[in-house]
Symmetry: C3
Subunit: 342 residues, 3 copies
Amino acid sequence: MAQTLGAIAQFLQAELKGDADCIITGLATLSNAQSGQLSFLANMAYRDQLSTSQASAVIVHPKQASDVKGNALILSNPYLGYAKVSALFETLPAGSQTIHPSAVVSETAQIAESVSIGANAVIEDHAVLAKGAIIGAGSVVGVNSRVGKDSRIHQNVSIYHDVVIGENAIIHSGTVIGSDGFGFAQDKGEWVKIHQIGGVLIGNDVEIGANCAIDRGALSDTQIGNGVKLDNFIQIAHNVEIGEKTAIAAGSMVAGSTKIGRNCTLAGGVGVTGHLTLIDGVHVTAMSLVTKSISEPGSYSSGTAMSKTADWRRSAARFRQLDDLSKRLKSVEKSLQGSEQE
Amino acid sequence: MAQTLGAIAQFLQAELKGDADCIITGLATLSNAQSGQLSFLANMAYRDQLSTSQASAVIVHPKQASDVKGNALILSNPYLGYAKVSALFETLPAGSQTIHPSAVVSETAQIAESVSIGANAVIEDHAVLAKGAIIGAGSVVGVNSRVGKDSRIHQNVSIYHDVVIGENAIIHSGTVIGSDGFGFAQDKGEWVKIHQIGGVLIGNDVEIGANCAIDRGALSDTQIGNGVKLDNFIQIAHNVEIGEKTAIAAGSMVAGSTKIGRNCTLAGGVGVTGHLTLIDGVHVTAMSLVTKSISEPGSYSSGTAMSKTADWRRSAARFRQLDDLSKRLKSVEKSLQGSEQE
Amino acid sequence: MAQTLGAIAQFLQAELKGDADCIITGLATLSNAQSGQLSFLANMAYRDQLSTSQASAVIVHPKQASDVKGNALILSNPYLGYAKVSALFETLPAGSQTIHPSAVVSETAQIAESVSIGANAVIEDHAVLAKGAIIGAGSVVGVNSRVGKDSRIHQNVSIYHDVVIGENAIIHSGTVIGSDGFGFAQDKGEWVKIHQIGGVLIGNDVEIGANCAIDRGALSDTQIGNGVKLDNFIQIAHNVEIGEKTAIAAGSMVAGSTKIGRNCTLAGGVGVTGHLTLIDGVHVTAMSLVTKSISEPGSYSSGTAMSKTADWRRSAARFRQLDDLSKRLKSVEKSLQGSEQE
């Protein structure tokens, strides 16, 4: 994967200061970089490391260009430069563009050219794999489901029937797409299953992390918009709709029929209850619970800040007395007002 | 899956108003329904949609029967009617009632008639699959484990040894049953594993969602009662017992040896610490943490309500001062009492 | 698995009181034990059960030795004794020490002697399985990844490329190791993927529960120290480092680049945000959120205590008014000071 610095500069459309022939063999942080590696300065907290880094070249903002003693790639957004150049050093094996003999592919499945199907993967009846799709070892693509062009499904992913995945998607291992939504009616104390007859519709350029679960819709489809990025352990319940480019960090859970807008971010461990609507541009901080619709963009939170457990216990005990405390304060205020009026 | 409305009325034992020969091809909500589809009115918030819905027929309560201009199926519980009729339009492929040639089935396993075993599934030694059981592609049924009559195990499910699953169960993809409980003793700063030699006992009519984990017991069995419904990402630790018909929403975690009663509901993201007992009929709201046994039925909560982050920060800072605040209020009250007594 | 009590005493180096020839066929709690079973008394709350237990022998502390009417194994740490003896009654089938014919093993993989590879497992190019390693049915070991001596990978585990797992590790089903960390840069409103080119380095004697996700590093490796014990549903983000012997209970999530020290414990459902450092010996209680680095050992918490929902609603409403409440109290105090100074 070695590249000359000149080639990388051209790839990034960056201004090169220094030796275009310098061979770059990898990427590293400023503090970890060794000779031959390219680094970057995106966070000014690490600015002092410029002088001590062993990196053979550094991607920097024009303002820091003069601080770099060796080779520099100068870009207005060094972090974006790092993101782009990371693709050149990807270690993930490319697809084989073959169907492994141990894979089980239905005769009725439609397999386009340049598709890779890993060992022991299963492609069920009438499934459609578009050109360049990669299906990892042990993954299952269910009846009638479709995987779009150049999408990569990693190992041991479970895709049920009637799931549509767009182009350039990445789905990580252990993720389940199209499992039944959680729906039951009560009949004299017995749970009666509501069969989940909708599907799942996933847009283009979506990434879904490891061990997620995206339930199929009860009647219509659960929908994940173009460019949505989901971390690991994300629960998307039936009939949820996630707007374009929204990003959700690990362990967040969205309950049934909730609609989340575009360009939202949910930090890790966030819960959103069912049948809500969150407008575009909403941000929710870690482990907050959203129980009402949000119609104004901005940042929202719930929970309490961390303390030593001993201190926390006292606060937690007082939390239960808050209503009483508030009423007693009101009474004190009245009493004072009375005495002042005397 | 097309059915006449008359046949559906008979299936539901509903009163039919309108055209018994009307062909129903699917189900949809009032607002999404198109000609040929059946809808229902269960939530009065959607009552206005009766007049504009394109549905060919609507399941309604007798009180709304006169509001339906077209065909109606009249039932005292329209939501239950919808649940029952959803079974007629299920899209999930039925079991093949065959063993896929790529499946690996131990010679010592007992496979009853009408069992379906999917591609690349693995049935280990002495496992027992009862009549009509369906094992999805890539799933593993471990040594000595049993899957009851008509139970369906979806794709890529992992069932360890000595797990018993009852009849009519549904287990979704990615779920793990019988993994080791988390138990260690300390020996001079080293963790010593407590081998988990109990099993898991799952009753009849249980549904378990995607990517759950039900640990085996340390000594005796972890137990899931008849009719229990678990959503996705449920953690059931070793030796937990869940009572009949209790329903648990996504992401809830029950720690070791806790007993949850019958007909309880845990909303999403609830935590229950270990060695507790929750009586029948307990309900816990989303993302609450239960740290004490509950001996009175009813609804329980913890956490705080959501605010804008800026406002929340102030509250969170004050939360840490709550004990001080409370003491200062007490002092003010005393001071006032003193001045009143003067 | 039957053993004489004498043999068990020798194995535990315990003092035996009673019949060395007594045949022990299993383990059970004092209340569940039947004739032939060995039990233990570790928690004094169960002391009364000594007199009624049907156990054929009991592991006890010297102080309780005289309370045991039948056979006793006397040890200073009965719980540790129970942990050790549990290994003798393990029900988990041993590895077959063979490669199942349905497994797919790359010609370039290095497979040591005494390795067991289960049905439909996949061992990719240049993977290395050390002596005694056991790979469960349906598991995948990715390109260049290594599984150390005597480590056991259960069923349907997904190991990506460039993952190193040490010796004597146990990895439970559904766990994913080496999935991409969640990293994106922004480019004019578009997410640009940061390719995750680091690996994962897991030490010796590590146990990882079911359905965990350990992401690969962005540049350098995500690291799990020797003797770390992770329960189910643990999220370890890219470049996290977990110190030796730290134990983390189910559902906890550690965000990117955070370093957790040695001998820490996180209870269930804990969240730790990114780029923090937690010193050795930190303990965090269930469902707490850690948002700041911790430089002092001890126990930390956040959240509120559980109440009846009706009571909780009042407290939660007042929580939002806390800043106002605090200011009003301040004002009352000033007013009182003023009147006292008059």
